[in-house]
């Protein structure tokens, strides 16, 4: 949907904000969305959106990727089944994959992936951030408010913040 709306000109995204900053991003192909449902075409759409938003030169793919990507370990109920040690051992594969890209941010357009990739970054002290695509799309259009930056690092905390006024009580 995002890719369609960008192609149609409805979402006027730009990567201008990252032209000088050169902050690097990678992205997780969610198993449910890519391998299990819509296949590689949706993975291409996702890359189209990501590159439009962060700049082509600032996107670094994981290896392997798309339909061949490794699961992060957040699916199948793993986040809720009371086996955190096994879940993190599973996630170490994904963690190493992300660290190998050297990216500061991993874009996770799936709720389970977001939670798991965030958790393994903290657990293994990877230092990268896990962020939804919707956050970056809004950032790139200059409409992301200051309270909508929970998952952004300090480097993006004050980039193009949408002006707001105090709520009158």
């Amino acid at each position: 949907m995002y890719a369609l709306w960008i192609r149609e000109g409805k979402l006027k995204v730009s990567s201008e904000w990252n032209k000088d900053r050169q902050i690097k991003f990678t992205c997780q192909d969610p198993c449910q969305l890519v391998r299990k449902t819509l296949g590689d075409p949706v993975a291409e759409d996702m890359r189209y959106v990501v590159k439009a938003v962060v700049g082509e030169e600032n996107f670094i793919d994981m290896t392997p990727n798309r339909s061949n990507n490794y699961c992060c370990g957040g699916g199948g109920g793993f986040l809720q089944n009371g086996m955190p040690d096994q879940r993190r051992a599973f996630g170490k594969v994904k963690f190493d994959q992300i660290m190998a890209t050297g990216a500061t941010y991993c874009i996770t357009p799936c709720h389970n992936c977001h939670a798991q990739i965030h958790d393994i970054s903290e657990h293994f002290e990877g230092g990268y951030h896990s962020v939804h695509l919707w956050t970056l799309i809004c950032l790139s259009m200059g409409i992301l408010g200051e309270n909508e930056r929970e998952y952004l690092g300090p480097d993006l905390a004050d980039v193009d913040v949408l002006p707001s006024k105090e709520l009158e009580e």
């Binding site: 709306w5 979402l11 391998r35 109920g77 793993f78 709720h111 409409i143």
Partner: protein, 243 residues
Amino acid sequence: MAEEAIKLGGKKKSKFIDQVKALLPEGGNLNLCLTCGACSSGCPATGLEDMDPRKFLRMAALGMDEELLNSEWAWCCTLCMRCIYVCPMKIDIPQLVFNVRKSRPREDRPKGILGSCDMALRNDTCSAMGATEEDFQFVVEDVLEEIQQTQEGFADLKAPVNKQGAYYFLNQNSREPVTEPDEMVPLWKILHIAGADWTYGTKGWAAENYCMFMADLENWEKIVRTKAKAVDDLGCKVWLNTE
């Protein structure tokens, strides 16, 4: 000098082996598994609980049902389907794992998943965190009102609830309305700018379905039907699952 052949499995009546056979491609048999190990080499769960996908399949083929049922590995597999994706013979190991989950008595399945499934069954929101219809509507309207009043250019931002005839019915993972409501806002802005005709529903809004992970077929279906009915009742055309 010939030693006697090792006998495996005795007279045990196997159940999983029949299921494995049914999972093989048309006209196939168990010999179709080449034991190549492509499944295991690309599986992040390989090695957990002293198990891997190939071993799991071979154990089923050998009739070691009890050992499979007692292993926790079926709950370490995320059903991500990378094993069947790379399998040259397209053997459906995830379905086998799902069948093993299903074969364990309901009350003995992992408590976290069980609790989330049961919670989702409590009301028509299907929220695994127990958020009610009133909770959800209140949070959405409260957050929306604050954005309309404080953020430049969004005085007319919308987050419709129960809008009859909207094109998209959008769902939402419970975590946002319950623990971090500001995370809902970026998507509202995107939909607003793209001019999408969308709505939430107070019924069936929760995106998650832990009954599916728990292999509770009856309640998995019940939750999907509750959600589908909510979409139909509002006359929406597309059921849109969020990121």
